[in-house]
Symmetry: D2
Subunit: 341 residues, 4 copies
């Protein structure tokens, strides 16, 4: 069916990933991950992140975030995040329900947390009446299409560790960040001091499946039980593993993300030429945020669906994905040119 | 790889299901279930179970059970189940963690609950010091390879409703039960008075995906939020929906289960001829339980893997699946004949 | 020991309450509330709030809030409250832990929520990705020493009910509000449309004990189990009941609060005369908020202890209680006059 | 009112405890435990249990158990206990709700767990599908009026520690056990290898208040937050502390328990003379269990209330307390003699 700019999870499965799924459908293997597909997929992760990184596959992104956070916290802890964080607004309270923790949201202009915003939240440390900050959770790339630099991440991690806190990364779009920054995955995870990472699959060409990655091994102790109790131990694990193996082979994960990012750049560039449209965020990943006069939106959505981000300001969000084409963008821009004037 | 008798989830994906997955990989569709694949899959369920059955797809079986139970309970309730129930022993405490309820396990000889066993558990009803029985949860087919008759189920449901309780069915193997009894799905679900059903996919030829089905519509109010908060709203829903559509087309779900059941019958029949082996449970679905002298087990497992069910009694469990062949059984029996004498 | 302005819970027990405790220490009575003291205390509540008000005693204020909120919510709900609400900042995340809900804090200047602040929080109603607003929780009197008028409460309740929400009142200081407004308790609870009330004891002359009051009877169904599971069913209930009976006899609860409020007025009036001190909130209950130059604070605290509310702005909080005397205030003001110049 | 044999929590407050409460009602002290009464009460505990024992006061017994268990577990753990344990049957599922853990109940004849009963429960250790045994929780004295010897406790603790488990003691009646065994408190707590103890107050002459005691200091880290989040941080702490100070002064805690135990002995001795009545449990603490012919029970209860423990077997439970008198027993026995013949 027609490609849209609604979301990167409206896209299908990359052909190489699908091929790997089909190829893995061969006879019986032991369930729950004790199989050769999983062994090979883990090996791919170890090549990227070090052989002692602890990697666990789960069904989906909300599960990955919630379980990673559960491994980092006790229920009297607070999790500091941007107000726009997926864990704060798009998971229907799953983090609170499953961890028992309070989320402490911080208003930002661009979806990115800074140390200066976090500092004042620490003044209640040690007082039993107040939740105790334990995790700084950031999204990389952010929900606003922006990206933390390795230096920014390192600063946050250093600050966190200096205050007996941990750094969690919701990496549903970590590939988009890595390619945007043109750095190795290690540079924005392990080497930056990240403690726990949700490594995204479904928004980057997979059918389902995410990975929870621990760089601090002590946090991963007992995680196999947490994953099972958290209802995220897939029985037919091989089909997730085969996807991850395909994604991490020949840098497919980076190519997919690089393409999506490039399409976003192109889209923003063309949109920006229209004097009635204002791009509102830096385009550093695969999302474009723009204010479009309200009266035109419905007509645009009819042919190329996308979501309104903010009704008040008439700001819309346009997402690209691994399968967005230059023609898709040319079509859309041509429509915009006809309508928005 | 080699087929074994370890578990029905060691099997792969049925070719027609895989074909449907591949066919659904076409362009973009709206995420989270607002897509034509999901509409068609729900229609298939409605044909089987009535157009007002409320059906929700989730990633996996433990998720389906836990979320169905959550919709039926408050945290001060008790869930009565067989000691051998999957929810009691194989979900790492997920039901307790997610619902807050106490599970009250009942010892059984065959995995099946009876009203006489449940009655004494109701004597604390109304006293605030004690958890209040609210759900009777049964597995159909049971984890012991046995099956409740429609009459047995109806009795349990009637008893439950007479005591302000609800009947939950873990139907990870509901297809095996339906074909074993040679009844319509309705006869052992809706028409028997079942309130909530986990309808299994992964143990019957699917890759992943289960359905939570509500026959009492009031229980389904707000379930969409519970599913999302429970981390079981798949973003790329179409790939689960396409599988369910394939499974429910041309009675594939019944054919798969009927085949697995027949293979279990054959296996039990042949095994039973060996005077050193004792079949311990009625073979009514796709599992065979048998006492095999301990000294032979390791050698048998080496060629045809299976699990020991009870170390003390040397009882083993042999599971068949949709892809078990008569040759697999002949091979295994031939090995048994050579070894166990 | 010396009286301070630290908190109303630093005060002791009112002599008439203590006398009632001692008098109730007579032989055996049935535990858990089936006793004549409890019957009489409930009768006192019914006189104030109507004979169909459902009243449950618990040990403490955090327990009262958390259990009342639990009775109003499912875990996918959101609880809207002022940023300064006790449930948001002073209960170490107990509401999130016990209800599973997200708290949505709203910044206010005076601790009071308005409908205009709440409206924008409802735009995600009906979308499964987002928590669903279910409860507006207000503190009456607020943590800032301010008080909602009956009209303001009625508006909030009407708004809540029109949007399928409920109104919860943290009434740890409800007596201070009632006397401040010079209205009957009913006017700011039942008649204003409040659904659930925490009626405070410990901050108004009791030793321990609070009451959870339901005006919507359906919310109270099963609350006896929730109280027990919530670890707040006192075994020797009579000693809480005797206190409530004493407090509600001869309007002691109002007299205590009226005195505390009057002392706060006096304190604010005298403090306000000092040109270096700025009163920052209306003094409508028993708290006085004032900016005091930082350099003087430690010396003042040494003789009359109180807490700094905001380190940045050098704002302090001074609380009065039923036993504060005019001499206490004269002493303190005399010290202030000597020191702050 | 009339003393009964219903429960030790139907009794009132010991006069010396009440006197201490009244005496502590003097002016203001800092709330939440930073006061001289609490300092002195903790000192009393340290004298008994060592100066490094970590002691925290809470409102009630269920709270003490639940919070102690929370400090010992993660939600994927199992808590092994006797089927008759208070945590299993009398706390309305509070342990499951608050810890998320599964309770694994063990049937016993006398309320006492043995290592042989626990061993088979460990065969699933290490498998992620199953909850992981982490705590053995025993009641001392048990709910059946029996008592573990120091040797039995030491064995259980040693066994627990050898299997990476911890020993929890519900000591609602620990005083009755200590005096029954005629040993120091240390002998059946710290020196026996106990990790966490609920030290009971309300069943031994206090009005309210229990203590959670940690012998393993690492378990107490962060417990102050758990207590607050668990809604069990009393604001006017001094009134609990004053009670504990009184109870632990002049061995009042032991005298109270010793008296109650002696009354139970006397009661059992006299009852046992009636040929129609059969004492069913060893009388080692302050409870007497006896089978009394059903037809007499209602008439006996009318004058001296007590509870039927088991409707099927017509077994009743008679509890004595610190204020039971020899006359109470003589009266009751005289009634029994008249009625039961």
């Amino acid at each position: 069916m027609k490609r849209s700019f609604a979301s990167d999870n409206n896209a299908g499965v990359h052909p190489r990933v699908m091929k790997a799924i089909v190829a893995s459908n061969d006879g019986h293997v032991i369930a729950y991950g004790d199989d050769p597909y999983t062994a090979r997929a883990l090996e791919k992760f170890h090549e990227q992140l070090g052989s002692d990184a602890q990697v666990f596959f789960v069904f989906g992104g909300t599960g990955a975030n919630v379980l990673g956070l559960k491994a980092m916290t006790q229920s009297h802890h607070a999790i500091i995040c941007a107000e726009t964080a997926h864990i704060n607004v798009d998971e229907c309270g799953a983090p609170e329900k499953f961890t028992g923790c309070k989320l402490v949201p911080v208003a930002t202009s661009d979806g990115k947390l800074t140390i200066d915003q976090i500092k004042p939240l620490l003044h209640d440390v040690g007082f039993e009446h107040h939740v105790q900050p334990r995790v700084i959770s950031i999204s990389q790339a952010t929900e606003m299409g922006t990206v933390y630099t390795p230096r920014e991440m390192t600063s946050l991690a250093t600050f966190a560790h200096a205050h007996d806190m941990l750094l969690h990364v919701d990496g549903a779009r970590i590939a988009n960040a890595a390619t945007s920054l043109d750095v190795k995955l290690r540079a924005i995870t392990r080497d930056a001091g990240v403690d726990v990472l949700s490594f995204g699959g479904a928004k980057n060409g997979m059918m389902y499946g995410e990975a929870v990655v621990f760089f601090d091994k002590t946090l991963a102790i007992d995680f196999k039980y947490k994953r099972k109790q958290g209802t995220h131990l897939p029985s037919k694990m091989r089909y997730i593993s085969a996807q991850f193996e395909a994604l991490l082979t020949g840098e497919l994960w980076l190519h997919n993300a690089e393409h999506a990012n490039r399409m976003a750049q192109l889209l923003a560039q063309e949109l920006g030429k229209n004097p009635q449209i204002k791009i509102t965020q830096k385009v550093e990943a695969n999302g474009v945020f723009a204010v479009v006069p309200k009266k035109y939106i419905a007509r645009l959505q009819k042919k190329h669906f996308f979501y309104v981000w903010n009704e008040q300001t008439s700001e819309v969000r346009l997402m690209t994905s691994f399968d967005t084409t230059e023609d898709d963008i040319a079509d859309f821009i041509s429509l915009v040119t006809r309508i928005v004037k």
